[in-house]
């Protein structure tokens, strides 16, 4: 799945064929099913980072809380935390290889940085909350649960796109050029 462009070429390389990249992603997911016996996940790793921050600030409160409390004193000791770190490293490797790593705030040219970052922050809070409620995100529910044909995961996927399209108009200005 290497891009055809010359590695010595200066600019970022074009993205790979989306279908073949999808097959690669599907094979990674399959490997996860076969080796781990569980699908891919991302939000769980983030939530556990949140739990460990919460533990640093208010140890006894967190240990006594009904949700984080179950994860004990060392919430980072969990396979999905390691998967999340791996995801970052894998993406870094790919981005460097394709010369695509560049520090920037991605937004429409006519949109302010401030607007884009506020939207990103608010979106993050909602996604963090929703992922805990639904016990997974696009990786754990939509992708992994979808491939397992689980009713709840497929319902999650449909709801996600439905409300995404419904809300898209209201937040479109961050992409205006």
């Amino acid at each position: 799945m290497k891009t055809e462009a010359n590695p010595l070429h200066g600019g970022p390389k074009p993205y790979s064929n989306p279908y073949l990249t999808g097959v690669l992603l599907g094979l990674v997911l399959l490997a996860s099913f076969v080796i781990l016996g569980a699908g891919l996940g991302a939000s769980s790793g983030i939530a556990r980072i949140g739990a460990s921050l919460s533990l640093c600030v208010a140890t006894s409160h967190t240990l006594g809380s009904a949700y984080f409390g179950k994860w004990g004193a060392n919430p980072l000791h969990y396979y999905l935390v390691f998967m999340f770190v791996g995801t970052f490293v894998g993406a870094l490797f790919s981005a460097l290889l394709a010369n695509r790593a560049r520090i920037q705030v991605e937004r429409g040219a006519a949109s302010s940085v401030r607007r884009r970052l506020w939207y990103a922050l608010a979106g993050g809070v909602i996604v963090g909350f929703a992922s805990r409620l639904a016990q997974g995100c696009t990786s754990g529910q939509a992708l992994s649960g979808g491939a397992l044909l689980l009713s709840g995961s497929l319902v999650f996927m449909v709801c996600l796109f439905a409300s995404g399209y419904a809300a898209a108009w209201f937040v479109r200005r961050q992409w205006h050029d």
């Binding site: 991302a42 689980l150 009713s151 709840g152």
Partner: protein, 677 residues
């Protein structure tokens, strides 16, 4: 057959962590290759300018789905070796709707934001910080959203079964939908941007064709796939009346037994309960519910004749279709009280045996305690997955209290470790050969300002490692004349997830008095590495839980200190008295001290009768406490392990902490009387 780490219960090992990181690497690499490290590209799907999200996601889902279907169809693995998340309609519908809004606003999701961060996107970093915040927010408001979190819980539910389709038909439909989505995406991009390099390309045609062909191939590979509908049973021989009774039973679901109920009944050792596994012998030998009989369907009626109408007969298989047919057939032959296990063996594993740490939903401490009790009981007695010599030392599940005869018969067995809890001078003078000396107080320390708290798992593991203990060891705890000197280390082992321990009834005094072998030599110890398990302790509660329990129906708090301390007549703490609503039964009332300082537990029947007066029902949530947690460990042991109350918890910090926190309520009859005067 492939064994997944999940099916081996090994997702918590370092090996799993390493492999998860490696798979994560592939995940991140693929996401970045797809261009999902760009929020603009991700947002494009919602404005129909860049449909890569649809193309990549559907390609990935269909690839994994087909791959898995082939592996299962070829018999290389089973679906029950994969963790299948529960379907909870309320939580997943509301969660999905919220998620969509957050996704389009932030233009990231958790996995892609990790990729975006790697590609230097500051908006991804901000999004991730928001996600961390959103997770913490969820934890803070969890008590409020809990009803939604469990609303519409269906357990594991497969979409094709909900729709009444065969698995293969559903996979083919899903694949066709995906292919249609590919072509629609290309057309959309063409219309919006004028560019669609794959529209009508030989590549996309071939790709679509291959996916559909592979989905069709499943029908050839496994033509008899799981049907949604139960095959109608043969009704030729049945009379109309019998059929009516049968259908009524089925309709009222009186023919089912839930896994939890079966587990409890098995653990209680219910007589006349016959559990029958109707799967092929090979599957039975690989794993079965301990105590189950393996009977082929064809021989069922004959084999079960001796048990006919004597007690409960519970049938199970992987699914429910075969046992359902067998049950109906048995009922026609006059068998009463035949039940099928809801969700079959898979349900039993998921609902009873799955470790608390791997469950997607947090369990209440009460439920977690139940699960751990089941795990201990069933994993200990099935004999197969246990490593070490456990099976040789004890044939059935280890009794919690062992007699001197029991120990004498097994002394010297490798893997049997005897721990002497008497003061060191007494140990030095003489002890059971090869026993290890342990000072009870070394297991406790100051935690967060509260003295005498049982140490955290890492510190316990360090001490047990120095003692050369292994997770596979069977531990026998030998007290002096204080039984709670053995039960407190017992709780230390439970905190480590080490359930293979027992207490020697009568302690060292009884052993010595019976003239059994003793010596004064120190045992040879090779230091070991005890693993640190942080999630095994689901029985210790803090003051908040206790405070929330006060006055709650279905709960009992038992203060096990001597009566004078309970009433407040005596006090050596910040305040005297007791927790409002707490009952009093001193720990010392559960043991008998005979002459020569031999202390034994009172007969179980006597203890059971006494506690029935205090605890309304078996399922009552019980919290025990004393001043420092030491004496209460004995009552905990009695209730949980001798009397089998499933929901017992231990307030370790006890009266020391409670009395010193002025905001916590105290009942003090003595003080009240004085004030009246």
């Amino acid at each position: 057959m492939i064994n997944t780490l999940y099916s081996l219960d090994a997702l918590g090992t370092n090996r799993a962590f390493f492999l998860a990181a490696l798979i994560g690497f592939g995940f991140g690499f693929a996401l970045e290759r797809a261009g999902f490290s760009s929020s603009r590209r991700l947002a494009g799907v919602f404005y129909f300018t860049d449909m890569a999200v649809v193309k990549v996601m559907f390609s990935a889902v269909i690839t994994a789905l087909l791959g898995l279907s082939y592996l299962v169809g070829l018999g290389w693995m089973r679906m029950d070796q994969i963790f299948l998340m529960p379907t909870i309609y309320g939580a997943q519908i509301v969660g999905g709707l919220l998620f969509g809004v957050g996704f389009v606003m932030g233009a990231w999701c958790p996995g892609t934001a990790a990729a975006g961060l790697a590609a230097g996107r500051i908006d991804a970093l901000v999004f991730l910080l928001g996600t961390v915040g959103g997770s913490i927010l969820f934890n803070e408001v969890f008590p409020l959203v809990r009803p939604l979190y469990t609303a519409g819980d269906q357990g594991t539910q497969m979409a094709y079964l909900s729709l009444g389709l065969s698995r293969n038909a559903f996979v083919l439909t899903f694949t066709l939908v995906a292919v249609a989505a590919f072509w629609l995406s290309e057309r959309t991009e063409k219309a919006r941007t004028g560019r669609a390099p794959y529209l009508g390309s030989p590549f996309l045609k071939a790709f679509s064709l291959i996916l559909v062909a592979l989905a069709c191939g499943l029908f050839v590979l496994s033509p008899v796939s799981t049907r949604a509908s139960v095959q109608p049973a043969n009704t030729a021989a049945a009379t109309a009346v019998d059929e009516k009774a049968l259908m009524e039973t089925v309709e009222n679901a009186r023919d089912h037994i839930e896994p939890e109920e079966l587990a409890d009944r098995l653990m209680a050792g219910e007589p006349d309960l016959v559990v029958v596994d109707v799967r092929p012998a090979a599957e039975f030998n690989a794993f079965h519910i301990p105590g189950a009989l393996n009977v082929p369907l064809a021989e069922l009626a004959e084999a079960l004749q001796p048990y006919k109408n004597k007690g409960l007969i519970v049938l199970y298989s992987n699914g429910m279709t075969h046992p359902a047919q067998a049950r109906d057939s048995l009922q026609r032959l006059g068998f009463g009280h035949v039940y099928l296990l809801t969700d079959g063996l898979q349900g039993f594993r998921d609902r009873c045996l799955k470790p608390v740490s791997l469950r997607p939903e947090p369990l209440t401490p009460v439920d977690a305690a139940r699960v751990n009790a089941w795990r201990t009981y069933f994993n200990a007695s099935d004999g197969t997955p246990k490593v070490g010599i456990f099976a040789k030392v004890v044939t059935a599940a280890l009794p919690r209290v062992v007699e001197t005869d029991w120990l004498a018969a097994r002394l010297g067995t490798p893997g049997l470790k005897v721990i002497d809890l008497r003061p060191q001078p007494e140990y030095n003078a003489s002890h059971i050969p090869n026993s290890l000396s342990l000072n009870v107080e070394s297991l406790r320390g100051n935690i967060g300002g509260v003295p005498s708290m049982l140490l955290p798992p890492a510190m316990l593991a360090a001490q047990f490692s120095l003692l050369g203990l292994h997770p596979s060891d069977t531990i026998v705890l030998v007290p002096s004349d204080k039984m709670h000197d053995a039960t407190l280390p017992g709780l230390a082992f439970e905190r480590m997830g080490h359930m293979d321990y027992a207490v020697l009834n009568g302690g060292y005094a009884k052993w010595a008095q019976e003239g059994r072998p003793v010596n004064a030599a120190l045992p040879a110890v090779t230091e070991s590495t005890c693993p640190v398990k942080t999630d095994a302790d689901d029985f210790t509660v803090n003051f908040k839980t206790v405070a929330a329990t006060i006055g709650k129906p279905g709960t009992v708090i038992i203060d096990v200190r001597p009566a004078d301390f309970y009433t407040g007549k005596k006090s050596d703490e910040a305040r005297g008295g007791h927790i409002p609503g707490a009952l009093n039964r001193a720990f010392s009332e559960d043991v008998i001290t005979s002459s020569n300082k031999v202390v034994t537990f009172k007969p179980t029947a006597e203890l059971a009768a006494a506690y029935r007066q205090l605890i309304p029902s078996t399922n009552t949530e019980v919290i025990v406490h004393c001043r420092t947690g030491h004496q209460a460990s004995q009552t905990f042991f009695v209730l949980k392990h001798l009397l089998g109350y499933p929901n017992v918890r231990w307030y370790d910090a006890g009266w020391t902490e409670w009395a010193a926190r002025p905001e916590l309520p105290v009942a003090n009859e003595t003080q009240a009387l004085k004030n009246k005067k």
